[in-house]
Symmetry: D2
Subunit: 184 residues, 4 copies
Amino acid sequence: MNIQQAPALQTTAWFNTGKPLSLDQLRGKVVMIEAFQMLCPGCVSHGLPLAERVYSSFSHDDLAVIGLHSVFEHHAVQGTQAALEAFLHEYKFSFPVAMDRPSEQGGIPQTMQAYQMQGTPTLILIDRQGQLRHQHFGLVPELRLGADIMLLIEDSRVTTPTRGLVAPTLDGCDASGCAVDQSS
Amino acid sequence: MNIQQAPALQTTAWFNTGKPLSLDQLRGKVVMIEAFQMLCPGCVSHGLPLAERVYSSFSHDDLAVIGLHSVFEHHAVQGTQAALEAFLHEYKFSFPVAMDRPSEQGGIPQTMQAYQMQGTPTLILIDRQGQLRHQHFGLVPELRLGADIMLLIEDSRVTTPTRGLVAPTLDGCDASGCAVDQSS
Amino acid sequence: MNIQQAPALQTTAWFNTGKPLSLDQLRGKVVMIEAFQMLCPGCVSHGLPLAERVYSSFSHDDLAVIGLHSVFEHHAVQGTQAALEAFLHEYKFSFPVAMDRPSEQGGIPQTMQAYQMQGTPTLILIDRQGQLRHQHFGLVPELRLGADIMLLIEDSRVTTPTRGLVAPTLDGCDASGCAVDQSS
Amino acid sequence: MNIQQAPALQTTAWFNTGKPLSLDQLRGKVVMIEAFQMLCPGCVSHGLPLAERVYSSFSHDDLAVIGLHSVFEHHAVQGTQAALEAFLHEYKFSFPVAMDRPSEQGGIPQTMQAYQMQGTPTLILIDRQGQLRHQHFGLVPELRLGADIMLLIEDSRVTTPTRGLVAPTLDGCDASGCAVDQSS
């Protein structure tokens, strides 16, 4: 994957933040996006707690963390603002979270489509210039993530190729995540 | 607490079972009830996986395991059949699960009221004679639970007093569970 | 395996107890023996912490817990009283621990031989009549152990066959335990 | 603490490496030293597995990982080459490990003294110029370690002050580590 400008976030609501965020507005900071679904077991047990640890470990001047609720299944149950709000209330995550904008025809929401994500959790790193540098579906090793974030925090060059972890091959949900049905 | 007949289950829907279950019908078996809410972090991370391990560890001739979805908050989000069905689908729990019947005025559902539960998760053990023998709110030590279940499986006497674990004092939800607001 | 009298413990030193223990003397109680080596990773991470939890969970009137240091490899390093004493001091286990008596020719110590153990950790349960009822090599599920101990605590009959877990097939040590070299 | 040249390693034996290593020889690479004792519970459960993950996560061209067996108690038991060799054999750590050279009068070994370590585990990071940049006693957050290592891998400047984690205040050993007795 060549380095490219990260697609804009398409969202419908924001939580844990006074006002909506945008990648344009965050230019100059590294941005980590954790795309999740509230009923995805791997997101709840691994992806979101990891995002919370990242949020509390790095300076908010250097790194912005955004949770992105990218609902691609069970829309009626987990796709409402009330559902996400109740989930965030009970789990007490503190970083800003947005709802990915549903597509017209249902199915995969718009930001998830723009990034061609394979499922949830997907962890995305965007550099200070707004370029997409990493995109991982599934479990992320914590040591490697700490290193990758610092590399982007320190980086003022833009020539490093995106180094992705091998994506898991999932059918439905397991402990590591929930995959989009490729046949649909 | 003196030994008393366990109150009947008041339910509105069943999952993972061909037909609704009742305590009368299960007389002769030990029954373990795991009361939970799908948005209760301690239920998702500890209570329900423990119930699944119990379900796969003991003979179904000796022990019945029932999950009871006792929604006392966020009713609109987690109180529907569709919500529970999506949750069970994603988490793949295999034991029978019932929805606790909502009370007329909202708030605490009917079975949860009958057992005077303090919150979720609550683990209940009922002996072969249908008597309530243990009721614990919060985390349950696995060694102790294995021993308590076997004591009831082997027991043909009914004179042992209920031995409860100390219930946690919670306000709202934490990693161990979600408490009913006592001021309401 | 038919039920048989548990072989006597052959030991050379005791720790965490005012005086040496023997199975004869413990007749009337259920006895759990955790055979281990201080350099066996599965013993240190799983077997011994589990034994400590058992020791603190059940009445000492009903159940005696004994750690048995059955050194079958690295004798010079881990086979001395000083080594075991330093290990117990650092790890702070509180249940009584004995050193299994070395055999004349080195190799597998005497109690380990008498029980025909396959490696460490091995967990042994002996009933109130001094009969060997369970013997497991490797990881033991905690729910099942709680149930098995309670079954023996409650049991006054001696007709139940020993129900063993499937023993792991190990070569050397892995996370679950250390196996005796069968070719020796 | 001002940035200073890292003291040389004083060692008596090496394992998992064809020949002894020295900081002089490793100049140009970042070096991580994990000081441990084989009977230190926090070293066995956290420090050494973390060092193994670091060793397998970063390029050996950029980062060298060294385990340093700094025995300051129970010298007779854990202070011999045979003891360390048996330990490394059973636990299967693969990174190079050295024995810290005992001091003339026993007690704290020479490299541990030169770095004024407070106990084990202690994690040390040395930059490409051979300067001591981080020194932590106790548990190290994995995200932070990944970031700190990458910062040194990328760093060609030497002006950043050492940022230490708060050291635990320990008396003897607990789950996080073993402290040197300050009164001695």
